[in-house]
């Protein structure tokens, strides 16, 4: 359809960035951005130009808490058919992962999307099907539109949807790291538009660019941030205009709003972040696995679950650490035997780093 892999053009952008002679630290919040950066060696190239880019809390699987994983494990132990996206099944809880339960004979199914899980509920009417609904604003409308279609009563979700702008606010409020600019996630922005980021530039004076996922998209986003900084401006720019507009996908936003309401939620590596989750409205309570199976989940309802021993995913998700700085990276923690979620998820920065550099 179109190509954004023009090498000559990339070199041109890089030479512009280099000539601007800056020393800056940027953050993005998207595993696909991280994949493009590392796969094409852009992280190394940009570092030579004085620009470091780290991944923040931008991997939905990674920010899902150990407790949410334990809830799914428990529901599987109680005989439900547990369904979720591919990456999620391999994330270890305190004792094991959904994948390891599968090898013990529990019914765990990997699905491509929520509609596959609903199809299972229609097929196995005598079974209880629970879908672990993880994902940011990109994924939330898919869950919402399915729930609006009255799925079968043997279907429910463990709602783990979270929203990006509140996490960025929390990160900036914590003040642990200096962020000179933010590269915002293209496909979250496809849904929410560019407006929900504006308070960050206004209140925190951080320049932002919504970016696409080709190498040129990211280089261009970096160049746009550098320009904002050099011109002393802070605003939200949209580099990914071919898929994102200011308003976003209004139809998807309406669907989200009809089904969910904002809630406060803990993210892995973070304390409870106000207004950072999408909770099912009371009208959809019958599809809320936490309510529906309250008695099944009672034994862990007040239990605290710890991060895996030695795992530094939390610091990584707050942008304080790079994968290669974790003592477990590539030694005790590898994709075939991951300690933390950032090594499991294909969108996790440790998994990406290992995939392209080890």
């Amino acid at each position: 359809m179109f190509s954004l892999k023009n090498k000559k053009f990339a070199e041109e952008i890089i030479s512009k960035i280099k000539a601007s002679d800056v020393k800056l630290k940027f953050m993005h919040v998207c595993g696909t951005h991280q994949d493009t950066l590392v796969k094409h060696g852009l992280d190394v190239l940009l570092k030579e130009c004085g620009i470091e880019i780290g991944q923040g809390p931008g991997c939905p699987v990674c920010v899902t808490t150990p407790k949410e994983i334990e809830e799914m494990l428990l529901l599987a132990r109680k005989g439900k058919i547990v369904t979720t996206f591919g990456d999620m099944v391999n994330v270890p809880g305190e004792t094991q992962s959904l994948q390891s339960m599968k090898t013990e004979g529990y019914d765990i199914r990997t699905v491509y999307g929520i509609e596959d899980a609903v199809n299972l509920a229609e097929k196995y009417k005598d079974k209880e099907i629970v879908f672990m609904a993880v994902g940011f604003e990109t994924t939330a409308p898919t869950t919402a539109s399915v729930l609006l279609k009255d799925p079968p009563s043997n279907f429910s979700i463990l709602c783990c949807h979270r929203t990006i702008p509140s996490a960025l606010k929390a990160l900036l409020d914590m003040g642990e790291i200096k962020i000179d600019g933010l590269i915002e996630p293209g496909h979250v922005s496809t849904i929410i538009g560019t407006e929900p980021y504006e308070f960050i530039s206004k209140d925190y004076h951080v320049p932002q660019v919504v970016a696409g996922f080709e190498p040129l998209d990211l280089l261009m986003a970096v160049w746009m941030l550098v320009q904002q900084i050099q011109q002393g401006k802070t605003c939200v720019q949209n580099e990914y205009a071919r898929a994102v507009n200011k308003e976003g996908n209004v139809k998807a936003q309406k669907v989200i709003d009809e089904v969910f309401e904002p809630g406060d939620k803990k993210w892995r590596g973070f304390p409870v972040i106000p207004h950072s989750s999408l909770e099912l409205r009371s009208k959809f309570e019958t599809y809320n696995a936490q309510r529906k199976y309250e008695s099944d989940l009672k034994e862990i309802s007040n239990k605290e679950f710890k991060e895996p021993k030695g795992c530094r995913c939390g610091e990584l998700l707050r942008g304080l650490l790079l994968p290669q700085e974790c003592p477990l990276f590539g030694t005790q923690c590898k994709p075939e035997n991951p300690v933390g979620p950032c090594m499991v998820s294909i969108e996790g920065s440790c998994s990406i780093e290992y995939r392209y550099t080890k």
Binding site: M1, F2, L4, N6, F9, E12, I13, K16, C30, G31, T32, C59, P60, V61, F85, D87, Y112, G113, I114, E115, D116, V134, G135, F136, T138, T139, P141, T142, S145, P185, H187, V188, T190, I191, L216, M220, W223, M224, Q227, Q228, Q231, K233, C235, Q237, A241, R242, A243, V244, N249, K251, A252, V255, S345, E347
Partner: protein, 77 residues
């Protein structure tokens, strides 16, 4: 997780809730199109089995020109 793949809508079901998307690599797959206003021949971004946005081909082709413009000297934010 937020990965979305572009493809071309080649068929729309009678109920207008699903369509067939051709990803151009020999893969055709059913996708839910209820979140977008789409017609046969449109390019969409598909995430987790749902079309989440219609891509504007004209905008896409203009992206590189826009980049060139922005890279030219004296650009303003």
């Amino acid at each position: 997780m937020c990965l979305a793949v572009p493809g071309k809508v080649v068929e729309i079901d009678k109920n207008k809730e699903h369509g067939i998307v051709d990803y151009g690599d020999g893969t055709k797959r059913k996708a839910n199109i209820s979140l977008v206003e789409v017609k046969v021949g449109d390019y969409v971004l598909v995430h987790a089995g749902f079309a989440i946005e219609v891509l504007d081909e004209k905008d896409a082709q203009e992206t590189l020109d826009l980049f060139r413009e922005m890279l030219s000297a004296g650009e303003d934010v």
